[in-house]
Symmetry: C2
Subunit: 334 residues, 2 copies
């Protein structure tokens, strides 16, 4: 890694197209002078957008890639046939060492498949896990896997625990409390896979295993790292997003309910605005594909500029903290 | 069923003891003149509480049961050894036909086991499913199973779909949209069990099958009935509760953040109070154990008076709508 941090941005993928990536890039390089950005995608689309914005920056360059992987593309077919896609080319820049990290808002399955193929996992890591920090009262809970692996063995869950532990420690946390997601906190609860995984984690002297937690613990701060298979993680994550959106709507609706509420909400406007900002899911965008030999960050498919910006910030942090090297070290010692 | 509705209340179970059940009963009989309540539990504890409240009501009687099943008791041991418990006696009153429904805030596993033993499921129903209505912008989404069955076959998921469909229809909904919980809406997503279950449901001409939904659909109103196994349902439910609590705290915290916010929140107090009321999870308390031959409602273990009251209301509604008979009819026709 050079002294400067270089991040490749898959500028074409995602639901909202290159506009979001470019606007986020613009804010990002303004805020972090130690970063160079490589916008990967169709020059004939990116350059006019950059010109239109009058966005010329010595630390931002465009790397041409003619093709795009669509959100609905079959991941394996995309991997086989779309080697000129922005996602593939961005990850190939990461593989070659031209950049230190890659950020994409594209097709999750394709990103995982191509990243595994080009960037590879560390020896000892079966498969990468998607890890995200969820907000709690004070700080964050790191949760993985959030959808990369539908069925996991106990050994794989144990690997996730090790990686989550490393990530939480990299943020300065001492002895992170690592727990397994289950449908009850009692020892006898859950499936056999969970029982065995718990044993593996508890026997690892490097991990502060706190046993099982229920899904409400994700937001209570009862654990610093919550480990689960990708099916369960996806359900917990999507349910949470659904509730947050439901409540945001409720706030707006309540504020408009009747004349009194309308007057009150005008008076309390700064309060309600602040509340909605703090509840904005986009502030927590940017999931890590842990276990890969280099930093790959997945942004939400319909991320807005703020959300994409946050994914870029997460990428930079993990390069600075050398998270991949820390994970490699963790798996070497076994 | 007599013209009057008779409900047995397991008055001793739950985290908060008989006080909550008694207070809820008091409000409930005041509101619904067509209901008689049977409070089941230790007379030496219930009677003094009733006297203290000066609560004498011709439509409320006490039925003695000396024992209590604790929240932490092993369900099967409780079933074997606690035949004098308030839960067992209340369910036995239901079995004998002395009452039309039973409400308990006790140990979920024990309630399921004893209810299956005493009240029985209808022929064609393998196991009861826990079903709850989740609030959406307009109306509700019925979700099942929420924790009774950790591993489900495709056939069982199909049974849940039929029961959820009947329950949603009983509330007046025309052609409820029935969906399966998955980690993506695309047809090829998820496990084989889910694939087969989807086929079963889609082939049933009595069900309006809308395919797979992700967990955010629980609160978006994209489906009227969401079917899942108990593990996934529990995770979705608990994650949702966790987010709701997190956001409630956030509202309070934001309102107290600084002097300006404090002044604004005093001004907007009625608005914030209304918002917190509308977000109060206790308004949605009361889960049905569908598939049993009679109405059994599970209240949340730490339900407060309002929440317990809502569970009683749910029980009454299902008796009025004759939900068990409708489910029996559904399974007879196959």
């Amino acid at each position: 890694m050079s002294a400067r941090i270089r991040i490749a941005v898959d500028a074409m993928s995602g639901d909202l197209g290159p506009r979001v990536a470019i606007s986020a890039a613009q804010i990002f390089v303004g805020r972090y002078p130690d970063v160079d950005l490589l916008l990967v995608g169709d020059e004939s689309k990116l350059l006019p957008l950059l010109l239109k914005d009058n966005f010329r920056h010595t630390r931002v360059s465009v790397h041409h890639a003619a093709d795009v992987i669509a959100m609905g593309d079959d991941p394996l077919l995309a991997m086989r046939h779309k080697k000129n896609s922005s996602m593939w080319v961005a990850l190939d820049q990461l593989r070659s060492g031209a950049v230190d990290a890659c950020v994409s808002a594209g097709n999750t399955g394709a990103l995982l498949a191509i990243a595994r193929f080009l960037v590879k996992t560390f020896p000892g890591v079966d498969r990468p896990a998607i890890c995200k920090s969820m907000p709690v009262d004070v700080g964050f809970t790191y949760m993985l896997d959030l959808g990369a692996n539908i069925n996991c063995t106990a050994e794989q869950l144990y690997q996730f625990a090790k990686m989550g532990n490393v990530l939480a420690k990299s943020t300065g946390l001492l002895s992170p409390r690592v727990a397994l997601l289950n449908i009850g906190a009692e020892e006898q609860k859950g499936t056999e896979v969970l029982q065995v995984a718990r044993q593996f984690i508890a026997e690892d002297s490097g991990i502060n295993c706190t046993g099982f937690v229920e899904a409400n613990a994700i937001f209570s701060g009862a654990a610093d790292v919550i480990v689960c298979d990708g099916f369960h993680g996806n359900i917990a994550l999507k349910a949470s997003e659904g509730v947050a959106r439901f409540i945001q709507k409720k706030i707006i609706k309540t504020a408009r309910k009747n004349t009194l509420n309308k007057i009150l909400s005008v008076l309390a406007y700064p309060l309600l605005r602040q509340l909605r900002q703090e509840l904005d899911p986009s502030s927590y965008n940017g999931a890590s594909l842990l276990g890969l030999q280099k930093t790959v960050i997945k942004s939400h498919g319909n991320a807005n500029v703020n959300a994409f910006l946050h994914a870029l910030i997460v990428a930079r942090e993990q390069v600075v903290q050398k998270v991949p090297a820390l994970i490699q070290k963790e798996f070497q010692s076994y």
